[in-house]
């Protein structure tokens, strides 16, 4: 049961997130070039909105399942918990004291940043094509969302490799 949640959290949601991110970033970067006609702009904007909404929903799902489902199992006080196993082996202890402690905190920046991107895209809509400053800020926020999620994902994979949550 624990394993299925971990699979959902890290192996199903993450690849979908990466696909949505790549597509969303491309739509955001190319939005001004797709403003040839109002119809083209409308289609491009619709695609952009669907991608950034997907990114935000996926990031929130990753954080909620990670913090409220997988993490309690990870840090359970029993000697069989992944945390206890890591701390019991000096060579693996860094996977908790550095990897998990960074992952669990920094990853929470992702849903904040992704939600603000959704707001900017939804609120400004077609105006975003000509609002270079806000569009660039949204692009940077999207990249920072990915950076925080990648730190969490890579460190999580290292932890899972050492002590799978089964």
């Amino acid at each position: 049961m624990h394993g299925w949640w971990t699979v959902g959290h890290g192996i199903i949601l993450v690849p979908i997130f990466l696909l949505a991110f790549a597509s969303g970033l491309m739509e955001l970067l190319t939005l001004p070039h797709k403003a040839g006609t109002p119809e083209e702009l409308s289609v491009a904007l619709g695609r952009l909105k669907s991608r950034v909404w997907a990114i935000a929903v996926l990031v929130w799902l990753m954080m909620i399942t990670g913090t409220y489902v997988s993490y309690p199992w990870y840090r359970a006080p029993s000697p069989d918990s992944p945390r206890s196993k890591l701390l019991a082996v000096p060579d693996l202890a860094w996977l908790h004291t550095f990897a998990m402690e960074w992952k669990e905190h920094i990853a929470w920046a992702s849903p904040i940043l992704a939600t603000v991107v959704v707001f900017i895209v939804t609120y400004y809509g077609a105006e975003l094509a000509s609002r270079n400053d806000l569009r660039r800020a949204a692009t940077w926020f999207l990249v920072l969302t990915l950076a925080a999620a990648v730190i969490g994902g890579v460190l999580g994979a290292l932890i899972y490799k050492a002590v799978p949550i089964l």
């Binding site: 403003a35 309690p72 960074w102 929470w108 904040i112 400004y124 000509s130 926020f141």
Partner: protein
Amino acid sequence: MTTVPSEKTNGAGVGAIVAAGVGVAVLGLSVILAEMSAATMKGLNWWPPAGPLVGKSSMGLIAWLVAWAALHAAWRRREVSFRMWWAVTLVLILIGVLLTFPPIFQLPRAGG
């Protein structure tokens, strides 16, 4: 190229951006404050199965939403300096990132 006239001010967007910076910074501050004080660590333990992580992340989320509501109300009809507030946001995000980096937030732990 289709140019859509700007009907909205930049205040709402900039307010959301700055609020995100506030949220990330408060997240980082919560992490290091919990390390500096056992009472704070205990106080942030809002849901024991996940430990103080729930309190620390929730503090960041609450600060973000409160800041967003306040800045939206204050700026949504105004043009504000994008350049200045973007710089402020990047500094806030940097503070938050640094304070969630274990070698930094674990310094109080190492000092006993």
